[in-house]
């Protein structure tokens, strides 16, 4: 028996040694290996290949399995985090407060890069926290209307073009919504991802939080009217699928699933989405015969469009953060940004790359002849910055619960939004009791009532550099 155990132990050790020896080294000798946590959008591979071909000192590798703020924070604090990670406006303050995002303000200044002047203004909340910079925007986006030409032609309707209003949009969407004799939908006039609901709040003149972020203002008449219109698109005008109808249209999982594949599958005539939808919709083999054009999305009181995007930041705890900076600098250059535009991974975050023939007419995709629309709506982009006085996850959970009830037509919009605002405001007060530093900032803001620039909200943390 002893012999058996010894042989087993020896074999296991030998196999472990062999596996360790055979493990592929992703970075060529002499290059610093860097790990980037991002989504598994197929375009990432191209972005990485471009960087790796250019860089003499670093080799970047994608890790799509550890995305998610919680994983990044916990792993980084435990010393096993990635070198670079993607985040967004809602999560950046949390990353800063957790001391995971590296303040690169001074590094950028040393190199003469002034992001505040170079990127789309609405992308600043993606990278700036308490006036300090923590990343470079990987892309920028505002949604527009994808038009399914075939369905419009079938209905004998002209393709819309902006600027136009939701009131002008409604009769068109109603004409393009087709139901069978039993009332079952065959085709919808309009389709959108529910998470873009703040678009309706800002277009109706409301805000999710007050300018200084100290109060949730979802209970304002403007916010209520905006969400009410969204609710009415489903239940009053019936041009957009209800959750049940949406589930019935569900097609497949994976990256780019949901509304995109439903739209690509000719289930709706108009799809409210970002330019990044094209990453999926360009797949001719998946969507044979799909013919698209784009129009500016309708607006209401204000011709503004919800701006969002991704930012790439450096893990402050990474021993290779200096080397990781090389990738962020690469992101400010032409190779990366022209690549973003060509790949349709939304829009380059630097407006200077969204001009000229190269951007407007991509010879590989000649049918995409409305790239000017994406640029124009981006210029009218308005961010929806989070409040620094409440965890964005907690706020999302509270809003999500109420919006679920709205989406399922189980609660009047006004009641739901008032309940959400009241609960979030109560949680803000609880957060302040726990966090003396935040309380100090909150009191200062309340007393001074400043009107900060977009993206210049105070951070949850100290906003310290290394």
């Amino acid at each position: 028996m002893r012999f058996f155990f010894l042989v087993s132990l020896g074999t296991l050790m030998a196999l472990s040694l062999l596996a360790w020896k055979l493990e592929p080294r992703f970075a060529p000798t002499g290059k610093t290996p860097l790990v980037w946590v991002s989504d598994d959008n197929p375009q990432r591979k191209l972005q990485i290949a471009t960087f790796n071909a250019q860089s003499k000192s670093s080799a970047l590798r994608l890790d799509p399995n550890n995305s998610g703020m919680q994983k990044i924070i916990v792993q980084s604090l435990a010393g096993v985090g990635p070198d670079l990670f993607d985040t967004n406006a809602a999560n950046l303050p949390v990353m800063v407060a957790a001391d995971v995002a590296w303040d690169i303000t001074d590094e950028l200044k040393k190199r003469g890069i002034a992001l505040e002047r170079e990127v789309w203004p609405s992308t600043l909340p993606l990278i700036r926290c308490n006036g300090r910079f923590y990343g470079v925007p990987a892309n920028a986006c505002t949604n527009a209307l994808f038009i399914n030409k075939k369905l419009f032609d079938k209905a004998g309707l002209p393709y819309p073009s902006g600027p136009w209003t939701w009131e002008q949009f409604l009769p068109l969407a109603q004409k393009l919504t087709i139901r069978d004799a039993r009332g079952k939908p065959q085709q919808f006039g309009f389709l959108m991802d529910w998470w873009t609901w703040p678009q309706f709040v800002i277009q109706w003149g409301g805000q999710v939080y007050s300018d200084d972020g100290t109060r949730c203002t979802l209970d304002s008449p403007e916010a209520i009217a905006g969400v009410q219109f969204l609710h009415d698109l489903i239940y009053k005008y019936k041009v957009m699928p209800s959750p049940v109808e949406e589930a019935a249209m569900a097609t497949q999982g994976g990256w780019g699933a949901g509304s995109i594949t439903q739209f690509g599958g000719n289930r709706a005539a108009m799809g409210f989405g970002g330019r990044w939808w094209l990453c999926t919709l360009r797949k001719k083999e998946q969507f044979p015969g799909l013919s698209l054009t784009v129009a500016e999305a309708p607006h209401h009181k204000e011709r503004v469009f919800l701006a969002y995007g991704r930012t790439t930041a450096i893990n402050k705890q990474s021993p290779r953060r200096e080397q990781a900076l090389e990738y962020l600098l690469h992101m400010t250059g032409p190779a990366f940004n022209q690549g973003i535009n060509a790949q349709a991974d939304a829009l380059a975050a630097f407006p200077k790359y969204c001009e000229g023939e190269r951007y407007l007419h991509n010879p590989e995709f000649p049918e995409e002849d409305k790239n000017d629309v994406w640029r124009d709506v981006m210029a009218a982009g308005k961010p929806n910055p989070p409040s620094p006085f409440i965890s964005s996850q907690l706020a999302d959970r509270i809003m999500g619960r109420q919006l679920d009830l709205v989406k399922n037509d189980q609660k009047p919009v006004a009641d739901a939004l008032k309940a959400a605002a009241s609960e979030i405001n109560a949680e803000i007060q609880k957060t302040l009791q726990r966090d003396p530093e935040l309380k100090k900032r909150y009191d200062t803001l309340k007393n001074l009532s400043p009107a900060p620039l977009p993206g210049a909200r105070p951070s949850l943390g100290k906003g310290s550099s290394s």
């Binding site: 919680q70 949390v94 407060a97 957790a98 589930a247 965890s391 959970r397 399922n408 530093e437």
Partner: protein
């Protein structure tokens, strides 16, 4: 002699002991300590011992009670799962052809990936083209919206613990219960009953039959009392598992929704610890959950155990 035996035994149990101390006992004790602190992964919140503050906050936390109610609601499926396991075990204890095949097939859900099963059930519950609603509609009945609905069979409210007539019906919680019962029926409970059935003395059964007892009377007066220790064990374990459960289902099938109706205490602990980074508070919830499970188990032992003696 004993000292020598210990010296030999210790190296053998040391790896396991070290692993247990490091990865089980250590974190458990650590979580108990930090339950009395405000530990938060946000660096702006200075660490402080807060005494019973987390537990007081918990007492007033509306979400905790909502999710505790959800957790208790999910226990509704437990008696059906136990009864189903017993029924299957009784069937499989008969001398029929292909018994091994049946046993394997019925045990299949237990060794199939849970996530895969959940995705499968998600498709089955699709309100429009799912086969379940297809069958219900074919019978001329109104098909529920399953995972998209906040309704439930006892009319549990969505935003506060209590009865709400509008919520009466079938919804996400029931969908998860039905899936849980299906998974549990052919699982380890069935195997435990099968093993227990082989231990029922044949002479007792034969004696009852000789006295003229019919099948039901034999089961009611001979088999069932003989299975009492197994039933007791299964009940206790199901209570413990049920109170700790619901995480995977919430994560994979519903995201805790709609409107938080499928969020259980275990999912709430995850949310508080790893999404909101309130580690101290999450630890306090964990220890309250442990206390609830402990008390219920003690009550089970105290009162349930009496029925087991024969």
């Amino acid at each position: 002699m004993k000292r020598r035996q210990l010296a030999i035994a210790l190296p053998f149990i040391l790896p396991n002991l070290l692993g247990f101390m490091l990865f089980t006992a250590g974190p458990v004790l650590f979580s108990l300590c930090i339950a009395f602190s405000n530990w938060n992964l946000m660096r702006s919140v200075p660490f402080a011992w807060t005494g019973l503050e987390n537990f007081v906050t918990l007492w007033h936390d509306k979400d905790f009670w909502l999710y505790f109610a959800n957790t208790l609601y999910f226990l509704i499926g437990m008696p059906f799962a136990i009864a189903g396991s017993l029924a299957l075990a009784l069937l499989l204890s008969q001398k029929i052809k292909g018994l091994v095949v049946y046993r394997t097939l019925l045990y299949l859900p237990s060794f199939t990936s849970g996530v895969a099963l959940m995705i499968l059930w998600k498709a089955l519950y699709n309100p429009d083209f799912g086969p379940i609603n297809y069958a219900i509609e074919a019978l001329g009945l109104h098909a529920p919206q399953w995972l998209l609905s906040t309704q439930n069979i006892v009319g549990l409210g969505v935003e506060k613990v209590g009865f709400d007539a509008k919520q009466l019906g079938l919804g996400a919680r029931d969908a998860i219960i039905i899936m849980g019962v299906w998974t549990a029926i052919g699982g380890s409970n069935m195997l435990l009953y099968l093993a227990a059935l082989t231990n029922v003395p044949q002479d007792l059964t034969e004696a009852a039959e000789l006295d003229g007892a019919n099948r039901w009377q034999v089961f009611r007066n001979v088999t069932w009392p003989q299975l009492a220790p197994t039933t007791f064990f299964i009940t206790v374990m199901s209570f413990i598992g049920g109170l700790q459960g619901g995480f995977e289902q919430a994560r994979v099938m519903t995201g805790g929704g709609p409107a938080g109706t499928t969020t259980t205490l275990s999912y709430y602990i995850y949310t508080k610890a790893f999404e909101e980074f309130q580690i101290g508070y999450a630890s306090a919830i964990s220890w309250v959950l442990f206390s609830i499970i402990f008390v219920i188990t003690v009550i089970n032992w105290k009162f349930g155990n009496k029925e087991v003696a024969y």
